[in-house]
């Protein structure tokens, strides 16, 4: 298959599947078509990803407007993984809702359609070489997913939706200003106006860009995309949206939508660094936002009563950790990308569990009512407990390894302040979340609801991510390591940073 077609199909398949979902006659066919669309995309996507990551090609299509290099391939892989898991889960989740007759055919048609279109929009973000189109993709994800929050119309979900659209649209509008300024900074550089917005062009000519304008651009971009990525202090929409959306939607929000926005920032990092003469100006800014996010989340995690809100604040913390890693550079970039995969997997699992446990106790996510979740549903109880343990960085899980690498990066760089604040934040989260998790797992159940039996599929949904996380915590496969290095090299400027990595991993 030639590249032109592959990249085109990756965008077109989910787009068409989404529209076809609107025409489906029954709940089952709509969900089935949605899964078929997602898995079909995933199979083709894997071909493209292997060709990029292991054969070291860079795929171009549509006159260089679409491309896939190591960084986009790696992120695309994470996204496909999350979408495949969440699609299976949404079948399980909505089947339970159907049994309670909570769901009409129109709601499920809308859901499946928007689900596929959200996949399309995020694919466009990851594959576009044109920074303008990348912006269009991010804004499109906001608009498409807004309705996903409101699958069940209620006062709370409307409130969450309004905050989400307004805050994110305004934030992303700032990112648009940043994109314009970045294009303006290239004015007068001789590469013909036609290519001014192409990432590859800006990257190659980064040294010639106007430093003042690119700095101004980066501030706008960081605030704009940072809003969408849920970095504090622009995070206020995030806990509301995550807690009100149906569980599968929260899973993709947290599992990939936030990362997609951060991916956009990652794209600009090498440009800004080169244009400002490798002064780490941009990196420090990102690290600062990362630390603020970690600290903010740490404080709020202590006082949560709603399980999904708790998990939402965990997302803010982990996105902060990823941003901090990105800001440290060197090994930190590697750790940040590795942490992306770990966090996405773990957070997806925990939202799955929160959703199913909520259904088991009758549609609430109050942690008090969920006490003793091991007895309410053994499989999902283990799921939520282990995933919270993993989220707070307990040893054998992969999140511990990536956070450890991050610490190492901070020590290597001599960033003492970041190091101390990160440890402080992680410590508060550790204590706070553990305090929530223990009664959640073993407390005395409130309801006398019968123990809900989990099907085989649910069993797989819990233990597949958990075993991947455990495996990655103990042993890092060589292909993954080289893929991570290749994509980190796209962000990093210096070659020496990547050389120091070889064999230096735990």
């Amino acid at each position: 298959m030639n590249h032109e077609m592959t990249l085109g199909l990756l965008i077109l398949i989910p787009a068409f599947a989404g529209f076809a979902c609107l025409l489906m006659p029954s709940l089952r066919t709509a969900l089935g078509l949605m899964c078929a669309g997602v898995f079909g995309t995933a199979i083709i996507g894997l071909f493209a990803i292997t060709s990029v990551l292991f054969e070291h090609h860079i795929l171009y299509a549509a006159g260089q407007w679409l491309f896939m290099d190591a960084l986009s391939a790696y992120n695309y892989f994470v996204m496909l993984l999350i979408f495949c898991l969440s699609s299976i889960y949404s079948c399980v989740y909505f089947r339970a809702e159907m049994e309670h007759h909570n769901l009409t055919i129109n709601q499920i048609r809308l859901f499946t359609c928007l689900w596929c279109e959200a996949l399309t929009a995020m694919t466009i973000v990851l594959l576009s070489n044109n920074l303008g189109i990348m912006w269009v993709g991010i804004e499109a994800t906001t608009l498409i997913t807004a309705f996903l929050i409101c699958v069940h119309v209620s006062r709370e979900s409307l409130e969450a939706m309004w905050k989400y659209i307004l805050i994110c649209s305004v934030g992303v509008a700032f990112a648009f200003m940043g994109t314009l300024l970045a294009a303006a900074s290239a004015k007068g550089v001789a590469f013909g106006n036609h290519n001014a917005l192409l990432w590859t062009t800006l990257r190659t000519n980064a040294a010639a860009l106007n430093p003042t304008l690119i700095k101004a651009a980066f501030i706008f971009l960081l605030v704009g995309y940072g809003t969408k990525a849920g970095l504090a202090p622009m995070h206020t929409w995030l806990p509301d949206a995550h807690s009100q959306a149906p569980a599968p939607v929260s899973a993709i929000f947290s599992g990939f939508m936030l990362n997609a926005a951060l991916y956009c920032v990652m794209r600009y990092v090498p440009i800004v660094e080169t244009a400002t003469g490798n002064s780490s100006w941009g990196l420090n800014l990102i690290a600062g936002f990362g630390i603020i996010s970690i600290m903010t989340a740490a404080v709020f995690i202590l006082f949560q009563t709603d399980l999904k809100r708790l998990l939402a604040y965990h997302s803010i913390e982990h996105l902060g950790i990823i941003a901090l890693g990105l800001g440290l550079g060197g090994l930190g970039t590697f750790a940040a990308l590795f942490h992306t995969l770990n966090h996405s997997l773990c957070k997806t699992l925990s939202f799955f569990a929160a959703g199913r446990l909520g259904q088991a106790i009758g549609g609430s996510h109050d942690m008090e009512k969920m006490n003793g979740s091991m007895r309410i549903s053994p499989v999902w109880g283990i799921g939520i407990f282990c995933s919270i343990l993993a989220l707070i960085g307990i040893a054998p899980f992969a999140l511990f390894i990536s956070e450890f690498q991050l610490l190492k990066a901070a020590i290597d760089k001599g960033a003492t302040v970041s190091l101390v604040l990160f440890l402080l934040g992680a410590g508060i989260v550790f204590i706070g979340a553990l305090g929530h998790a223990i009664p959640l797992a073993w407390g005395r159940p409130h309801s006398t609801a019968p123990v809900s039996r989990a099907s085989f599929v649910e069993f797989i949904l819990v233990f597949a991510p958990l075993s991947i996380l455990l495996l990655l915590g103990i042993w890092m496969p060589q292909p993954l390591q080289s893929a991570l290095n290749a994509s980190a090299d796209v962000i990093r400027n210096t070659v020496s940073a990547s050389a120091s990595l070889q064999g230096g991993l735990p």
């Binding site: 303008g132 269009v136 499109a140 608009l143 309004w162 649209s169 314009l180 303006a184 709020f300």
Partner: protein
């Protein structure tokens, strides 16, 4: 050509001030519609020396969407909600206008600080006017309670950014431009639907009373 651009910029700033001082939502919408038409004209005038079919299409699309479609959507929103006035904004109207003047001052100062951007745009008024519009949009979003006014604020904010885009960056590819237009259009559309649902569910549009979710 330059003097025409400057006239448009002055009209832009004046319409910002009017928006800050008006309480009747219907009048606010008319002003946003007027600003939208200005945006369409701006595209034509800023590039009048090199007119291409591409430019004419973009100008026409933005003239129609911002000048007619948005106002139509918003007016329908008002009709359904039955609210005519902003009830007790957080910041009074006199104070709003004074803040508007302060924002204009800050924008002029920032425009001086970014000489390169001003040089690109060819007129020293463009950047201050665009920034004033951007700040006005933000101000409306923060200082007004009514969800409809916040939606207007978003449109104004977008207009401000659009002005910078039109005047200072010559070549945004056609497809990107259309994508952006589509996104903004859908954003306002989605906000319209959200407003409709909020009104149906809550019987009011006061966004500060949307406060069930906390912490």
């Amino acid at each position: 050509m330059d003097s025409t651009i400057e006239i448009i910029m002055i009209l832009l700033v004046l319409s910002d001030m009017a928006l800050l001082g008006l309480s009747r939502l219907r009048a606010c919408i008319s002003i946003v519609s007027f600003q939208g038409m200005l945006m369409g004209l701006l595209v034509l005038i800023a590039h009048s020396s090199s007119m291409t079919p591409r430019l004419i299409i973009i100008a026409a699309v933005s003239f129609m969407i911002k000048g007619f479609v948005f106002p139509y959507l918003l007016r329908r929103g008002i009709r359904e909600a039955g609210t005519q006035h902003e009830s007790e904004p957080f910041v009074g109207y006199i104070m709003s206008i004074i803040s508007g003047v302060v924002m204009l001052g800050i924008s002029l100062w920032l425009g001086e600080k970014l000489p390169l951007l001003a040089a690109l745009s060819g007129s020293s008024l463009v950047i201050p006017a665009a920034l004033t519009t951007l700040f006005t949009g933000l101000f409306l979003i923060v200082a007004r309670r009514n969800a409809l006014n916040q939606c207007l604020g978003y449109i104004i904010l977008e207009n401000g950014i659009y002005t910078v885009g039109v005047v200072s960056v010559v070549e945004i590819p056609f497809l990107v431009e259309l994508g952006i237009m589509l996104d903004v259009f859908v954003a306002v559309f989605v906000m319209g639907i959200a407003i409709y649902n909020i009104n149906r569910e809550f019987d009011h549009l006061d966004s500060d009373r949307l406060n069930n979710l906390k912490g």
